[in-house]
């Protein structure tokens, strides 16, 4: 410490500064007290005497959801709740709940008086507002509003409820938002949720909850003993509601509608359409579906149980939560893995198919009992010859097959921006070790090569596989939200899988083979005149009932703009059940009027769309 430095200031001086600071602080308090208790005393006195102040919610509208062309998929809708708002317990002006009052209110809200009485008693005890009737018709709300002066405490509160104009359409993808429950309220207490708030439960509504949800504002109003608003308090900063952000989805309503129509007759199954140019999801259907409006309005316990526990589970989004054996659609992966590894070329001919293949003391059948005879690789995929692929599987071995499957993102979450996606399963050597405690037997390899065995994929993974094949293996990130209005730097994530490297010739052979599947192979039901479609059928055996029918495809082959996957549970063959559905969607989407119409990238400004509140 140099003697000249101010650090040598005497302790007295330092004490003086600290004491002065403290004194200033206390004087500040005194100034504040004088202002409040002397200067503004009259004003606050008046507020305290007969009037009450309470916060009035200024609801922030939840963000709307649009498809990529700007068409509305979800918005808000006003709902009239008849509520009882208690006056404070000590208030001299508290109205006694008379039987006349009860009768009038009961008549208005069409409820029985005993229930009303309990609700009112509860509200009085807790100081919390009680909802006497939820979602009442406008006429009732108007009647209540008219007779408010005779019915102290009773009010009409307008609360937004979520509205999905297209009902069941894309219900799994959109999800639903409903009034927050008690338990959730507790869990999310630190996020500022209050009773009556909407909260996203599934789908986009849930994964983008924080973005969609705005922040409620409030004004403080002075009310008299009858709950009538007397004035607005000019206190504190104005708390304006901050509306939630609108979402623009990658969804294309045209494609979605086409797919919904085609899938309408399906009992259980799912279909996904992906844009192979960017991984955006164009359509997603899961059957059976539900009407999200039902949830938004509030569901009775019975109805909930019916939906949640009914055999087919309509709440399950089979497109991302259903894991199915891929069946022969997996031959795409097997073929590419073989071509990459060099264990075969597109012209390779193996032992001719006689309808079955003997290996390790077992006979493995081909789906075509009569056999396919001698085929090259392209013909083998065109006709989905099992025997050819058995032999390829043996040449390839598990690690290389597994590696290519993973490179396409199978066995891993795609990272799509929807909640609770399943991973599926691509078993590897390590998996068999864990599961069976032994090496994989070679016989299993034969099954894996044709997509049977332990393999499990989600319909979304299949659609993404088709999309990535269509663009020669370059990886994609599946996503649903294209843009968030008001957030300029919103971007979908990067692909989580590495993508697949392979020679030009390999891709060319695969595209040719898959195109032949549709033009002259197992998938002719998906043919569309004037459109080059590439696809692959699949029929997945499963122990519970009939086979699952699968089909994946992309089109137009030369410049793909649409890739799809269909999985129809327990329905039969891919070629006869799933492929026709794909064909129907393709015809609708690439039909004369809509052919080559480029999807809109930036949606038009629809901020003028009238919202519910």
């Amino acid at each position: 410490m140099s003697p000249s430095s101010p650090a040598n200031r005497s302790k007295d001086q330092r004490f003086a500064l600290l004491a002065a600071l403290a004194l200033c602080g206390f004087l500040l308090i005194v100034a504040g007290l004088m202002r409040l208790q002397i200067g503004q005393h009259d004003y606050y006195q008046r507020l305290a005497q007969e009037n009450r102040v309470r916060p009035e919610v200024l609801r922030a509208p939840r963000g709307a959801i649009f498809d990529r062309t700007g068409l509305l998929l979800a918005d808000n809708y006003p709902s009239f709740n008849i509520v009882f708002r208690p006056t404070p317990a000590e208030s001299a002006q508290r109205m006694p709940v008379t039987s006349g009052w009860l009768a009038r209110v009961g008549q208005l809200v069409e409820g029985d008086t005993t229930r009303l009485k309990t609700l009112v008693a509860l509200a009085n005890a807790s100081g919390q507002t009680a909802v006497l009737r939820r979602g009442s018709p406008f006429a009732v709300a108007a009647a209540v509003e008219e007779s408010r002066s005779d019915l102290p405490g009773v009010e009409v509160m307008i609360e937004p409820i979520r509205h999905y104009p297209h009902g069941e359409l894309a219900s799994h993808l959109l999800g639903y938002a409903g009034e927050i429950g008690d338990q959730e309220l507790e869990e999310r207490a630190d996020q500022g949720y209050r009773p009556g708030d909407l909260v996203g439960r599934t789908g986009v509504e849930r994964s983008y909850e924080e973005v969609l949800r705005g922040r409620d504002g409030a004004e403080f109003v002075v009310v008299n003993a009858w709950g009538r608003r007397v004035a607005t308090l000019r206190e504190g900063p104005p708390l304006k509601p901050v509306p939630g952000h609108d979402l623009v989805l990658t969804l294309d309503l045209r494609v979605q509608q086409a797919m919904e129509e085609v899938m309408a007759g399906v009992d259980r199954g799912a279909a996904v359409a992906v844009d192979p140019r960017d991984g955006g999801i164009l359509a997603m259907v899961s059957r059976p579906a539900f009407d999200p409006n039902e949830f938004a309005r509030g569901l009775s316990v019975d109805r909930w149980n019916e939906l949640a526990q009914g055999g087919s589970n309509p709440l399950l989004n089979r497109a991302i939560q259903g894991a199915y054996p891929p069946g022969s659609t997996f031959k795409i992966v097997t073929m590419l893995a073989a071509l990459r590894a060099g264990v075969a070329t597109p012209a390779t001919r193996l032992k001719p198919c006689s309808g079955s293949y003997a290996f390790g003391g077992r006979v493995f059948g081909c789906w075509k009992r009569e056999g396919h005879g001698s085929l090259d690789f392209v013909e083998a995929i065109q006709h989905s010859c099992d025997v050819y692929f058995y032999q390829i599987g043996l040449r390839l071995g598990l690690p290389r097959l597994e590696a290519t499957a993973h490179a396409f993102g199978l066995g891993d979450r795609t990272g799509v921006d929807l909640p609770q996606e399943r991973k599926g399963l691509v078993p590897g050597e390590a998996w068999y070790q864990r599961r069976w405690g032994s090496h994989m037997r070679k016989g299993l390899l034969l099954n894996l090569a044709i997509g049977q065995g332990e393999l499990l994929v989600t319909p979304l993974q299949l659609a993404l596989l088709a999309a990535e094949v269509s663009r020669d293996g370059r990886p994609l990130r599946a996503h649903v939200v294209q843009a968030v209005r008001g957030v300029d730097d919103f971007r979908p994530g990067r692909p989580s899988q590495p993508g697949v490297d392979a020679d030009e010739t390999a891709w060319e052979a695969l595209h040719r083979g898959l195109e032949l599947v549709v033009s002259a192979g197992t998938g002719t039901a998906a043919r569309v005149p004037g459109l080059a479609v590439a696809g692959k059928t699949g029929t997945a055996q499963n122990p519970h009932g009939k086979d699952h029918a699968l089909f994946v495809c992309y089109a137009p082959v030369e410049k793909p703009t649409l890739a799809m996957a269909f999985v129809i549970e327990n329905s039969g063959h891919g070629g006869s059940v799933a492929a026709p559905l794909a064909g129907a969607v393709l015809r609708r989407v690439f039909g004369a009027d809509s052919l080559a119409r480029p999807p809109v990238v930036q949606a038009p400004d629809t901020s003028e769309v009238i919202r519910g509140d």
Binding site: S5, I29, V30, G32, L36, I38, Q49, R52, S91, G236
Partner: protein, 406 residues
């Protein structure tokens, strides 16, 4: 008077003022909890706690402060463990994890951490040949304070966590750090603050250059301060730009919870109405009429001063302020009188923490500070807080008893 009874040399004005505040506190808690409601009758528990707290204060005063000096580091480490435990297994109230539940006892480890930090800092600053212009001498205390600060801020409890920098600044200054140097050492904090206020780094940059020119710090100190500020300057805008709107809003809510209109915002307005309607002489003890306050859960804890303002009026509220001023000013005075370095430094640390709490709570009650959820020392309901406050005062009397010792 022949038989001379000699009172031990406690700081009498401080003791009397503190006792008066405790009595007022008990009366106010009584008043706030006689209204029918969930908290009715809580004042009895407060009374029991008060007895217990006074005993604890006695013990805190009786044991020689040298014992605390030697216990400083273990206590500090213990409090860090407790703070970490809160984050893992703590009980949340109002969306923040602040409490540890030990059977019948629920307490906020941040209270212990404050005292422990004061002990450790006092010990460090009491070192012979202390030179706070030297890097090692000022950087280590900064780090020591930063850890509990960060842990408490993470709970999140911004209000309490800011007591740590207040303690540090006061003790730096009392230990002899020149003001310019102080500003320089705290510049990273200033940097963040100015960035949030102005949205640009230029303001701080200009200020910083001026500061360096005025203080002319040692090279090592300058380098560290530059590095810290560089890190801040690099990360802040970066961080801010990568936040989405809703995330930014969250930060703003964290900084000012009064923005929440149904919780804190509503209470703020009710509190102002209560205080303002109290007028000059108040409505009289037990005669507060601000009925809506009965709807508030915190009138006996964080907003107790609004009951003082309403029932005892400006005169009562002013009395309380004067009593607090006596405690605080006598406290600083005690630090000046104490000959032992550790004792003197400890006094400044404890008093400044107390002062900070008083200011933040009262200014909140009258609407001049954000709602932070800090209780009013010695007055608010809350057993462990009362206990800790009394122990703090006991420690001050401890110093008073031994102020002549070196």
């Amino acid at each position: 008077m022949e038989t001379r009874f000699r009172l031990p040399p406690v700081d009498l004005p401080m003791a009397i003022a503190a006792l008066a505040l405790l009595v007022i506190g008990l009366l106010m808690v009584f008043s706030a909890t006689t209204v029918p409601g969930a908290h009715q009758g809580l004042w009895v528990r407060q009374l029991l706690w008060l007895g217990f707290a006074l005993c604890a204060a006695w013990v805190a005063a009786a044991i020689h402060y040298r014992a605390y000096e030697s216990l400083a580091y273990p206590l500090y480490l213990l409090s860090l463990v407790l703070l970490a435990a809160v984050l893992v297994v703590g009980t949340s109230a109002m969306g923040a994890k602040r409490w540890l539940d030990l059977g019948p006892l629920r307490f906020q480890p941040s209270e212990i951490a404050k005292i422990a930090t004061v002990f450790v800092l006092a010990r460090r600053f009491d070192a012979p040949r202390l030179d706070l212009t030297r890097l090692r001498h000022w950087l280590v205390p900064l780090l020591i304070t930063s850890i509990p600060f960060a842990l408490v801020a993470k709970e999140p409890d911004l209000g309490t966590s800011l007591a740590f920098p207040v303690i540090l600044i006061a003790m730096y200054y009392w230990a002899g750090m020149p003001l310019g140097q102080l500003a320089l050492g705290l510049s990273p904090m200033l940097n963040v603050l100015l960035f949030f206020l102005t949205g640009s780094l230029w303001w701080f940059g200009a200020l910083f250059v001026g500061l360096v020119a005025a203080v002319r710090p040692k090279l090592s100190s300058l380098l560290v301060v530059l590095a810290l500020n560089g890190a801040v300057a690099y990360t802040m805008p970066h961080l801010w730009e990568h936040l989405h709107d809703y995330q930014k809003r969250r930060i703003q809510t964290f900084l000012n919870p009064g923005q929440d209109p149904y919780g804190a915002g509503y209470q703020l307005i009710q509190s102002k109405i209560a205080v303002g309607s109290g007028g000059f002489v108040g409505k009289g003890f037990l005669r507060g009429t601000q009925k809506a306050l009965a709807f508030l859960p915190m009138r006996h804890t964080d907003f107790i001063y609004s009951v003082v303002g309403e029932e005892l009026g400006f005169l009562g509220a002013l009395t309380v302020v004067i009593l607090y001023a006596i405690v605080v000013l006598r406290g600083f005075r005690l630090a000046l009188a104490a000959r032992n370095g550790f004792a003197s430094l400890m006094t400044v640390g404890l008093v400044s923490a107390l002062f900070y709490h008083i200011m933040v709570n009262i200014l909140m009650t009258i609407g001049w500070a954000p709602v932070t959820g800090l209780p009013l020392p010695l007055i608010s309901y809350g057993g462990t807080a009362l206990l800790v406050n009394c122990v703090q005062l006991g420690l001050l009397q401890n110093v008073a008893l031994r102020r002549q010792e070196y």
